[in-house]
Symmetry: C2
Subunit: 201 residues, 2 copies
C-alpha cells in the first residue's frame, strides 16, 4: 500500500468514498482488527482528526462498507425491473454479473461483507440482513417468474438461488481483478453452465 | 451451549477430538477471538490445565481444525481413486457430497476454515494452502478426465472447478443441519443442475 496524497478540494461525499475504498483495501490486506484508524488516515493521506470527522470509528466504516455494497446491487436490479424488457434468463445473467463485477469495482469489500458481518452493531446487522434477504428475494423472483414463463425448467427456486449465489459470491475467494478473465466473462461462463449444464449435449 | 460433563476414561485421541468439536461450536457461535480457553475448558467440562495439556493455545486448536478438515476430504477422494470403478460423473457427485456433508459432520468448522485461514501461523498456512490446492487439483482431474472420456462436454475445467466449489462451499453460509433437506440431497440437486442445467430440456 503506497501512501496516497490528500487531494485538494475534495468534497465530503467524494472524501467519504475515498476513505471507504482505502479502508476496504487495508482491511482486505491486513485484516479488519489489525487495521487501525492511524493506518487508514496514513493511507488516505489525511490527519487522524480529519478521518474522525468523517467516521467516528472503524465500526462506522464497516457499516458503510456493508450498506454501500448491498444498496448498490439492489439498486442495479431495481433499475432493470423498472426499465422492463429483460427476459428472466437475461435478468439472471445480469444479477450474476453485478455480483461478480463487485470484485472489480469494490475489491476487498466482499470479503469484509461476508467475514465481518457478525461484528456489525446489532441494529445495522438487522438492517443489512433484511436487505440481503431482499436481494435474495429479487433473485428468487427472477427464477420463479422464469419457471412460469418457460425461461427455466421445473426447478426448486430456493435451492437454485443458493447455487447461483454460491457460484457468484464464492469468487470473493479466488477472483483477482486484472486476471486472465474479467468479471463479465466469468459471469457469462457460470451463467451458461447453470443454464445448460456441463454434460455432453 | 450446555455444559458437557467430562467423560471418564476418555483416551487422548477421543479427548482431543471432543475438544476440537466443542471449540468449533464455540468459535462458530461466538467468534474465534471472542472465545477464551476458559470458555472451551468450561464447555468441555475439564480443568483449564487439562485443556492446556492437549492444546497449548487457541492457535493449536485452529491449526488442527483446519488440518482435520482438509485431510478428511483428501482421504475420502483418495480412497475412491484407489478403489476404482467410479465414473467421472459419479466422482463429481461424491466430491460435492463430501464437501456439503461437512456441514453435518463438522458443523461450524467450514466457517472457521474459510474465515480464519489468515490467522494460522505462516508455516501451517502454507501447509493448509498446499493441501487446498491438492484437493482442487483432485477435482480438476475428475473434470479433465471426464472431458476426455465423454462424461462432460467441452468445458473450461478450471472455471468449472470454481463453479462447483462455489456451489458446495457456499453452503457454509446458509445450510443448517437438520433442516428440510439433508446434505446428500442438496449435493445431488446441485450436481444435477451443473450437469444438465436449469434451462427447459
Amino acid at each position: 500500500m503506497t501512501q496516497r496524497p490528500a487531494t485538494q478540494r475534495m468534497d465530503g461525499t467524494a472524501r467519504r468514498a475515498q476513505i471507504r475504498r482505502v479502508a476496504a483495501e487495508l482491511f482486505d490486506a491486513s485484516g479488519y482488527r489489525e487495521t487501525s484508524m492511524d493506518d487508514i488516515a496514513g493511507a488516505v493521506g489525511i490527519k487522524k482528526a480529519s478521518l474522525y470527522y468523517y467516521f467516528p470509528g472503524k465500526d462506522q466504516l464497516l457499516v458503510e462498507l456493508h450498506e454501500e455494497m448491498i444498496d448498490l446491487i439492489i439498486a442495479q436490479q431495481q433499475e432493470r425491473i423498472d426499465a422492463g424488457g429483460h427476459t428472466n434468463q437475461q435478468m439472471l445473467l445480469a444479477i450474476m454479473t453485478d455480483l461478480i463485477r463487485l470484485q472489480e469495482t469494490h475489491p476487498g469489500h466482499l470479503k469484509i461483507f461476508f467475514e465481518h458481518f457478525r461484528e456489525l452493531p446489532p441494529d445495522v446487522r438487522a438492517s443489512v440482513r433484511q436487505k440481503r434477504d431482499q436481494y435474495r428475494d429479487m433473485l428468487v423472483t427472477v427464477l420463479s417468474d422464469g419457471t412460469r414463463d418457460g425461461s427455466f425448467g421445473d426447478i426448486d427456486v430456493d435451492l437454485t438461488a443458493m447455487a447461483v449465489l454460491g457460484m457468484a459470491n464464492w469468487t470473493y475467494q479466488w477472483f483477482r481483478p486484472g486476471g486472465r478473465r474479467g468479471a463479465a466473462e466469468v459471469a457469462e461462463y457460470f451463467w451458461s453452465q447453470i443454464l445448460t449444464g456441463i454434460a455432453p449435449a
